[in-house]
């Protein structure tokens, strides 16, 4: 039995003037990184309570939580109570959920479509949801109607993509056809959104549609939390449970099947789950881009591409990221800056930075 070094020397000739140019191998402590990310998330979460246009000094904030936990009577004003529990807490929780949902969806799709440039909108969920919302606004629906319409249309758009691609695709190019059909459906619904904007009365409906589409959590109430939790849980649990199997798809449909993975079923489940996550996120917060695309890249840089660690990392990072951005949106200026503008302004340069730094995060 020859020693590994001897064998290695046969592969790498260190003697005859050929230098070993292998990069240093670093062994990632992915588990540790996940723990750190959880701590980061908790810190951001707690910090978010201290910021806002309505001043709640830190001592008062601590008093409120202390007394609430122990059931002691309130020593703070009615308005402070409303601000903290009716306005800030729901908004913080929803920002967290949306950030986590979009990141998980993006990470799942990137693995599913073997492409690091994929975002959660790729199958048309966002455009469909935007269209649903635009129609509901045109018909003067209530806030609840707008959200339900957005959610349903997002789901319908993806169903359309899926079934049309099934009709026209063959077994060996199903993924490609899915992506192309998704692009077409997205464009179609985007065109419909433009049509809706065109027919909208420019005094009320048009700005309302425009604002809604730009994304924002201004009108989040406690009711939103319970509405979002259902699709969020249904969506994210299978994605997390099946994440190890998704790794196999990186090697191609056939190899994955040869490894024992039922690619058709996994694809089906993942598309449903990611769509639930994306559609519910758009329904609650408008079209927020750059999160589902950028966060998985960052996660991959930190813990590697193995979805066993990368998916949870995406979820934790995404939640903290969007929460942070929403904090900026609602605190820094009197006027609310729509979320999609902030995620683009911050996300795009950040993405370029990731591209430069993490040239190894894809091949």
């Amino acid at each position: 039995m020859r020693s590994p070094d001897a064998v290695r020397d046969e592969f790498v000739d260190n003697k005859a003037g050929v230098t070993d140019v292998r990069p240093k191998v670093k062994i990632r402590k992915s588990g540790l990184v996940l723990v750190i990310l959880s701590i980061v998330l908790i810190v951001v979460f707690l910090w978010s309570f201290t910021v806002g246009r309505f001043a709640v000094p830190l001592p008062e904030l601590l008093t409120v939580f202390f007394r609430k936990i122990f059931g002691l009577p309130a020593t703070w004003s009615d308005t402070t109570e409303t601000v903290l529990f009716n306005i800030r807490i729901p908004r913080i929780i929803v920002a967290l959920i949306i950030g986590a949902a979009l990141s998980a969806s993006g990470a799942a799709y990137q693995g599913l479509f073997r492409n690091p440039m994929v975002s959660p909108d790729i199958l048309g969920a966002s455009a469909g949801a935007g269209f649903g919302a635009a129609m509901a606004i045109l018909m003067s629906g209530s806030a609840l109607t707008i959200q339900l319409a957005a959610f349903s249309c997002g789901i319908i758009a993806v169903m359309l993509t899926y079934f049309v691609s099934k009709l026209i695709g063959k077994a060996n190019n199903s993924v490609l056809i899915l992506v192309l059909t998704g692009m077409v459906v997205s464009s179609l619904f985007s065109a419909f959104i433009s049509l809706a904007k065109y027919t909208a009365d420019p005094n009320n409906k048009l700005p309302e549609i425009a604002y809604w589409l730009m994304g924002g959590l201004t009108s989040i109430t406690a009711k939103n939390i319970s509405m979002m939790l259902i699709p969020f849980t249904i969506g994210i649990i299978p994605i997390l449970l099946l994440r190890y199997k998704l790794n196999a798809l990186a090697f191609g449909e056939e190899e994955a099947q040869a490894l024992g993975v039922d690619t058709k079923k996994i694809r089906f489940v993942y598309i449903i789950c990611a769509t639930l996550l994306t559609a519910s996120s758009v329904a609650a917060g408008g079209m927020i881009g750059w999160v589902g695309l950028v966060i998985p890249h960052l996660a991959r840089m930190l813990v590697g591409p193995n979805l066993k660690y990368m998916l949870p990392a995406s979820v934790l990072l995404g939640g903290a990221y969007l929460l942070l951005i929403d904090d900026i949106s609602r605190t820094f200026f009197t006027v609310e800056i729509p979320l999609s503008i902030l995620t683009a302004i911050i996300g795009a340069p950040f993405f370029i930075y990731l591209l430069a730094k993490g040239r190894n995060s894809w091949t």
Binding site: A248, E254, L259, K308, T363
Partner: protein, 258 residues
């Protein structure tokens, strides 16, 4: 475990590539598939692995039609070594090899310590332990091929199907890999391999399926690799030479220049 191909035809929706093929790979047998480019070796493989439907006849494993085998069960029995290509994400070599355990894992599980041990054993067996923590996308093509073989044996299969496993390998590594595969065959794993080089068959493989314009033939390497068969299959003139190595006859196929 016995793989049997019974009068099967293979092909795609629009055309049939191979007709009426029959052969058997018994437990521990090592079968080499030889044939020119385009004759249908890859089509044959894809059909056996279940990627393509068998167009006529049937393919059975242990007597049962493979159509009735579930994908996970099939993956536990058959290990597939494709030609190495580049995946889009930079998995470590250990990650890649561990994926071989997927068929044995529950739906929601990821590899346990046991699985990691099995993967490390595969690395040992192929003498590539030093690659363990390197990035799969940064090692050479030949090294990637070795990793894929390691992944396949991590599946602990009873049958290994290898699609030209020596492409991208240098001469020395070709020989080493083939001898390694031979060792696996001696340990009881059935092997089905394609190759472009008859000498590979002489080196390690006692049984051969020859596919050419005349149809197909199954037989021992000695019987089937003849000068006329090589002419029919590859269209070139060769001479089959016998070399005496310490009393053992080693055959070799030498191309002639005229």
């Amino acid at each position: 475990m016995i793989l049997e191909v019974k009068a099967a035809s293979f092909g795609y929706a629009k055309r049939t590539v191979l007709r009426n093929i029959s052969f058997k790979v018994a437990t521990g047998e090592f079968l080499c598939l030889l044939g020119p480019n385009g004759v249908g070796k890859t089509t044959l493989f894809k059909s056996i692995l279940g990627f393509l439907d068998v167009r006529a006849g049937e393919v059975t494993l242990d007597g049962q039609n493979i159509k009735k085998w579930s994908k996970p069960r099939l993956a536990k029995a058959i290990g597939y070594v494709p030609q190495a290509h580049t995946p889009p994400f930079p998995y470590t070599v250990l990650d890649v090899i561990l994926m071989g355990r997927m068929a044995h894992l529950g739906l929601f599980s990821s590899p346990s310590r046991e699985d990691v041990k099995i993967a490390e054993e595969s690395l040992e067996k192929l003498s590539i332990s030093f690659l363990k923590n390197m990035t799969y996308t940064e090692i050479s093509g030949g090294e990637r091929q070795m990793v894929l073989i390691a992944r396949a044996i991590t599946q602990k299969p009873q049958l290994l199907i290898l699609d030209e496993p020596t492409s991208n390998l240098d001469y020395g590594n070709q020989v080493r890999v083939l001898l390694q595969i031979r060792k696996l065959s001696d340990q009881g794993i059935s092997i089905l391999m394609t190759s472009h080089f008859p000498n590979h068959a002489f080196l390690c493989c006692p049984k051969v399926v020859l596919l050419n314009k005349n149809g197909f033939e199954v037989g021992t390497t000695d019987d089937l690799i003849t000068e006329s068969n090589m002419k029919d299959t590859y269209g070139i003139n060769v001479k089959i030479a016998k070399i005496d190595d310490h009393g053992v006859d080693i055959k070799s196929c030498v191309p002639l220049t005229n």
